[in-house]
């Protein structure tokens, strides 16, 4: 006990810097040397294989990041892509062509397919037909290649006034109405009626563009 008391006092003085390690008793000096060796090993830089770091980090990412986030990160990560000017022009040309093709293959369902103006060049034209007793009224003409399905008019208020708005290409068009699926009738409100050559009458609609005469 007594020795332990002396040892503690000597240790206090050593740790306080009052005495050097050489002045410690031999037992304490050996312990001090072992302690210094241990402390020194803690200060050394740890070296491990680079592959280990990559593998560990990959595993950590896989375990903790959701799939959608990892896909997003992959897609959003900038990359250096080498493209020749000619290839770039070809790709841009192909993309533009594909857009044109897709848009031409999927016209707006509200618009009839042929002879009808595009969204940029067409003029919205209203057709009105009064038929209080009719169950259905359809519009057909050269702008829909005379399809008997035509374009359905609506009697929204049940008053017998059937209407439809159609986007037509600028120019002069011939048309007629089909009442109840069988009865072909010209438009009494049309600017003109013309002989259709088949013994009936077509109506005329003039669709002006936005230019001068």
């Amino acid at each position: 006990m007594k020795n332990h008391g002396n040892d503690n006092k000597l240790l206090d003085r050593y740790l306080s810097g009052d005495i050097s390690a050489d002045e410690l008793p031999e037992g304490l000096r050996r312990e001090e040397a072992r302690l210094r060796e241990l402390m020194g090993s803690l200060d050394e830089e740890v070296h491990y294989p680079p592959a280990l770091r990559v593998a560990v980090m990959r595993e950590v990412e896989r375990l903790h990041i959701p799939l959608w986030r990892r896909m997003w990160d992959w897609a959003a990560r900038p990359r250096l892509v080498r493209v020749s000017p000619l290839s770039g022009a070809a790709l841009a040309f192909a993309a533009t062509a594909a857009l044109i093709f897709v848009s031409s293959q999927n016209p707006s369902p509200a618009l009839p397919p042929a002879g009808v103006g595009s969204s940029t060049g067409g003029i919205v034209t209203r057709f009105v037909f009064v038929a209080p007793e009719a169950r259905s009224v359809h519009l057909t003409g050269d702008f829909v290649s005379w399809s008997t399905d035509g374009i359905a008019l609506d009697d929204l208020r049940g008053t017998g006034i059937w209407t439809v708005d159609v986007e037509l290409a600028p120019g002069v068009h011939e048309y007629t109405f089909i009442v109840d699926g069988t009865e072909w009738q010209p438009d009494p409100r049309a600017v003109s009626q013309v002989d259709d050559g088949f013994g009936r009458v077509n109506s005329i609609v003039i669709v002006p563009g936005e230019s001068a005469a």
């Binding site: 040309f93 192909a94 044109i100 050269d142 290649s145 600028p170 600017v191 003109s192 003039i206």
Partner: protein, 213 residues
């Protein structure tokens, strides 16, 4: 090689579907009897570069109206002859001027009403740019159909074309004429009233019979 394929595909996609001036899916809508009745006429028309869309549209119109194939063939042949004569007449006077399909069809319709080609050609002489004359020629036809003397109507339309009256305004002339006519005005008076309502300036050398405003 792959780049070449991209160009070829893109070029094919970029071809406008209506580039050939034909009705889409025309052939598939013909039955055998109608095809036999109209094919010789259509083949000859194609060789002569006539407006194919107008001819095909007339065929489809006949089919939609359940007209007998032989009659469809006759009507289409007559129309093709009219278009051929019209195109030849225009070409003989205006050798270097390209005509659009609407202009040829409208001129044929005007000629059908007895309006001479030399009268119709005054509209081309009045034109200073490449605006289509389909609508002005149609308005000329409509005025003559309503009883306006050919000289009056052609002088007015030439003036409308020469002074670049907006086509939206010019297209209203027949309707305004009808409004005045329904109030009892004679053709020349109704025409003068239509011009007054639409604020279209008087043509110089205004035809006799059009009252001063």
């Amino acid at each position: 090689m792959r780049l070449g394929r991209v160009f070829v595909v893109a070029a094919c996609l970029c071809l406008p579907r209506g580039a050939t001036g034909q009705v889409p899916d025309f052939s598939s809508r013909l039955d055998d009897a109608t095809r036999a009745a109209v094919q010789p006429t259509l083949d000859a028309a194609a060789r002569d570069s006539l407006p194919m869309r107008a001819l095909q549209s007339k065929v489809l119109e006949g089919l939609a109206k359940n007209v007998a194939p032989a009659q469809i063939g006759q009507v289409v042949e007559t129309l093709a002859d009219e278009l051929r004569s019209t195109r030849a007449a225009l070409r003989s006077e205006l050798r270097d001027v390209p005509f659009d399909e609407g202009e040829i069809v409208a001129t044929a319709s005007a000629a059908r009403q007895g309006i001479g080609y030399e009268t119709i050609l005054t509209l081309w002489e009045a034109r200073s740019d490449r605006q289509s004359l389909e609508i002005p020629v149609t308005i000329l036809s409509e005025l003559v159909r309503r009883g306006v003397p050919v000289t009056d109507a052609s002088a007015l339309l030439a003036h409308v074309v020469r002074t670049s009256v907006p086509i939206q305004v010019a297209a209203q002339i027949p309707g305004k004429f009808d409004g005045a006519s329904s109030n009892g005005a004679p053709p020349r008076g109704a025409l003068a009233e239509a011009l007054r309502v639409l604020d279209i300036p008087d043509p110089p050398n205004r035809p006799v019979g059009v009252p001063n405003r």
